[in-house]
Amino acid sequence: MIEVKNLVKRYGNHTAVDDLSFTVGKGQILGFLGPNGAGKSTTMNIITGYISATEGTVIVNGLDVFEEPEEVKKMIGYLPEFPPLYPDLTVLEYLDFVADIKKVKRSAKRQMVDDIMEATKISDVKNRLIRHLSKGYKQRVGLAQAIMGYPELIILDEPTVGLDPKQIKEIRELIRELSKEHTIILSSHIMQEVNAVCDSILIIDKGRLILQDKPENLGKHFSSTVGVKLVVKGDKDTIISELRKIDSITKLEETRALEEGTVGLTVYSNEDKDIREDLFFSLSGIRTPILEMQSISMSLEDIFLKVTQEEESVNETSTSSEEEVITDVSDL
């Protein structure tokens, strides 16, 4: 459906997008993940034909965005970072206008506007001026605008910004619903969001592609360390000296224990090695009961932080990046 090849965008000396290539299949939801200023919005603006690229090509359904912009624009619905709303129009007038410029057929227009207002839950404000709407409603009107005309490709730049948790849930459901017939690209810096709806995740930082994979596979890239959180009852020094005997433990960290007479510990081990049993037998050997044990699996946040920070530390010093990252992760 979309093929982005060697995309480069430079502003003077600043490179916003640096040799980015990826593909999205039909009916997929692609999540664009990256810290602020990573080049997410720039890439989206290029795909939608709002700005040009310095180098590279974008092919949507076999059509080049730079050569046939009019044709490509017919297939794309776009919700930019700031929803493009006219404050002096009512919601209904605005959506009518959008339907007109998206060349929706006159006979289908009325029904489509109603359906979309229903789907995005804005029917109750349809006669109010957009300037009087709250941020959440404005965001949803922006979303309604993007799906007007049911384009084949829907591009959403941080679609759930400014919404409350209930609305976020509704919008995610809507996005999932839409993905049955549409290809969707959405960007976010919120991991759960991408995790919750996307078929494929693309992490970029400083304009470069760091990785593209399915959300469930992402963990595999970074399972070099696995940690276990422990709360053990007993004397701290004896526990620690006992744990030092286990070879597969690579790192020991003390955390705050809430109860009197207990020790809080975070233990990291090599990958592919489940140390929970070892921990149990070793600690029960010195009769210090384990009160709590919880394994830490890497969340998307951790992966994201790790990936983007690794990039940074690679730039600074190529060594000892692992340690820094781990301490940061445990801070979360």
Binding site: N45, T48, G49, Y50, I51, S52, E70, K73, K74, I76, Y78, P80, F82, P84, L85, Y86, P87, D88, L89, E93, F97, V98, D100, I101, K102, K103, L129, Q145
Partner: protein
């Protein structure tokens, strides 16, 4: 285009701007109509029209200041430019919307000579010729206003620039007349003009070869022409200015002369500025 046209008109009349423009317009014209026609008992409506042609300088910025600048500021240009509408469609839709408001005002003013008909004979030819010129002049100013608004993100900046530029057009004849008619001055003036054009071209295209090439060819041919026949440059600045002057052309209409050249002149001005506005919109993509 129709969608943009409708939307623009709607915004003018949901915000107060449309009503304020019409009201102020009619108020000023009414004032001059009373002084020039009713009080002095003159039937020539063109006197009023000639007196109020400055009205555009005051009121057109009111109408055009937000027309493009606001799209840029609210980022709604992102919606327009990622929709299947061309830049030309956007500009045309907007121009026709503001022109419609002007048409409404003119339609109301058209009845004024008819009012005077009750009291005696009215020279309709010169009255309506001047109204026609008035409309065309207004269209030219609107097109200029749209272009100037497309250059900025701020309504206030757009309004101020538009006002200053319009102000100069009013006094262009006077300024031109005070410039020396010496052929040397003319040569230097056209040389500088050529350099400015090359510089603007360079800013827009970022192509050194084209702009320098054009500069060399332009200045070369100017000097060549000067060597060959210096008298050609006598009073050339004044000629150029009065040819370009939008208000000077208006005098023909005022005298009841409908010259095709004048009509085409105004329509070309409208066309040129609308074309420049579409170029500004298209250029945004390449910045």
């Amino acid at each position: 285009m129709l969608a943009i046209y409708k939307k623009e008109l709607r915004t003018y009349f949901t915000s107060m701007v449309g009503y304020v423009f019409i009201a102020l317009f009619l108020f000023i014209i009414g004032l001059f109509f009373r002084m020039n026609n009713l009080v002095t008992r003159a039937a020539n409506f063109e006197y009023t029209i000639a007196n109020v042609s400055f009205i555009f300088v005051l009121l057109v910025p009111l109408l055009t200041m937000r027309i493009m600048a606001e799209e840029n500021r609210q980022k709604t240009d992102q919606l327009l430019l990622t929709s299947p509408v061309t830049a030309a469609n956007i500009v045309m839709g907007k121009f026709f919307a503001v022109f419609t408001i002007l048409l409404v005002v003119n339609a109301i003013i058209c009845t004024y000579p008819l009012i005077m008909l009750r009291y005696g004979k009215v020279p309709f030819a010169s009255s309506y010729a001047s109204l026609m010129g008035f409309l065309l002049l207004g269209g030219a100013y609107l097109a200029m206003g749209i272009f100037l608004s497309s250059l900025t993100e701020s309504q206030v900046v757009a309004a101020v620039i538009t006002f200053i530029v319009f102000f100069f057009t009013l006094f262009m004849d006077g300024i031109a007349a005070s410039i020396s008619t010496n052929h040397k001055t003319a040569l230097i003036f056209f040389g500088i003009l050529m350099l400015i054009i090359c510089f603007i071209l360079w800013i827009m295209m970022r192509n050194i070869t084209v702009s320098i090439g054009l500069g060399i060819i332009g200045i070369g041919s100017l000097t060549g022409l000067y060597m060959y026949k210096p008298t050609l440059f006598d009073g050339a600045i004044v000629k150029l200015f009065s040819w370009l002057s939008a208000t000077a052309r208006f005098n023909n209409f005022y005298m009841g002369i409908l010259d095709l050249a004048d009509i085409i002149f105004y329509i070309s001005i409208i066309f040129v500025f609308l074309f420049l506005s579409t170029q500004v919109i298209k250029k945004k993509r390449w910045s």
